[in-house]
């Protein structure tokens, strides 16, 4: 399959994953594009695991970028809550509430270890435990434990156990 076709097929889920993983939509764009440049440079030996490979590479790129650009991230944090182009002007109170919710989710995810975060977010993208295990370099059994632990942490921070919580 051509690289452009692969890009069209996977860019959306990769972007969503990278944005959640990094908490930075702009960085997520770079991560997705860098992952495909990496694919052109050093494609995987086994094409059948392409989706897992892309997520694994995106995770590595995201971690590198986050490590190397902490200061830059702090400077651009204000851009995180950008709004969709073409949306009507938001109600200031609703926009504030939404921004606060995003901040909480971002901080809760950031509080997880990179591995836990990757495991949890890959599960959100529908990966099987064994695929996640292969991508993050752990055992299938450990994936279940890591997800439960991550959910436990997030539950405390995001009130996931409250009835009616979103």
């Amino acid at each position: 399959m051509q690289l452009e076709e692969l890009f069209a097929r996977h860019k959306e889920e990769l972007y969503r994953y990278a944005a959640r993983f990094t908490g930075d939509p702009d960085l997520a764009e770079d991560v997705v594009q860098d992952a495909f440049v990496r694919l052109a440079e050093r494609p995987p030996a086994d094409d059948s695991q392409m989706r897992g490979w892309l997520f694994r590479v995106a995770t590595t790129i995201a971690l590198d970028a986050m490590r190397g650009a902490r200061r830059r991230l702090a400077l651009v944090r204000g851009r995180h809550d950008r709004l969709p182009m073409g949306d009507p002007p938001p109600d200031p109170a609703a926009a504030l509430e939404r921004a606060e919710e995003r901040r909480k989710v971002r901080e809760a995810l950031a509080a997880l270890g990179p591995r836990e975060r990757a495991v949890l977010l890959m599960r959100e993208e529908g990966f099987l435990h064994r695929e996640i295990a292969a991508a993050v370099g752990t055992t299938t059994q450990s994936v279940g434990t890591m997800i439960a632990r991550a959910l436990e942490k997030l539950a405390r921070q995001l009130d996931l156990d409250e009835e009616g919580a979103r």
Binding site: K11, R123, L151, L160, D161, R166
Partner: protein, 211 residues
Amino acid sequence: MSQDRTDLAAARSRRLSALLQATDPPMPPLAFPAERVALAVRRRAAWRWRAAAAVVLLAVAAFGVPPVRAWIVQAARALWSAARPPKPAAVASSTDGSGGGGAVTFSPAAGSFALQVARPQPAGTLTVETAERATASAAVIRGPGARGGAELVVLPYGLRILNDSGATASYLVRVPASLGRISVAVGGGAVRVLVPSGPGQQWILDLRAAP
């Protein structure tokens, strides 16, 4: 208890999914990084060429070292044999005192033909003739009082005459005129190249060792 935990995890998971979806940033119009990908592809191709060039240089350098050269030659021969399995060798033999000569007919490969005489003889000649035909033939011609034995061995790329060092027989080899070139080597001596230009040509080579 275990079921409760599973249910709790499932409920948390559902709520987290909803929360994540609600707070996801909008999908930007992500463009395929065509230029960077093209550059990466070119870099990769260049790297492959450099790697290939390095391998060639290494091989050339290694070829100067006799043991490595011997190994390379051996490996090349093995590869050649694997790529082109030899036809079953046809062998004709003529032994001292048999009173007759051995003969063999075979289909030579198109192009080059190698004729190898194992060693020089005290007497005798090798006659090479071209003919308008597709097959080649070779015969040991033993005159009265001829000594020594010889075997004709058909090789994938030509013919080898395995003669005794004291043999005095002569040999007649007829080859298709369509062959591009015929190389003849006697023992470890210089290789003589014959280039057929049509049927009916004849070359007579003395098999005695040069003084």
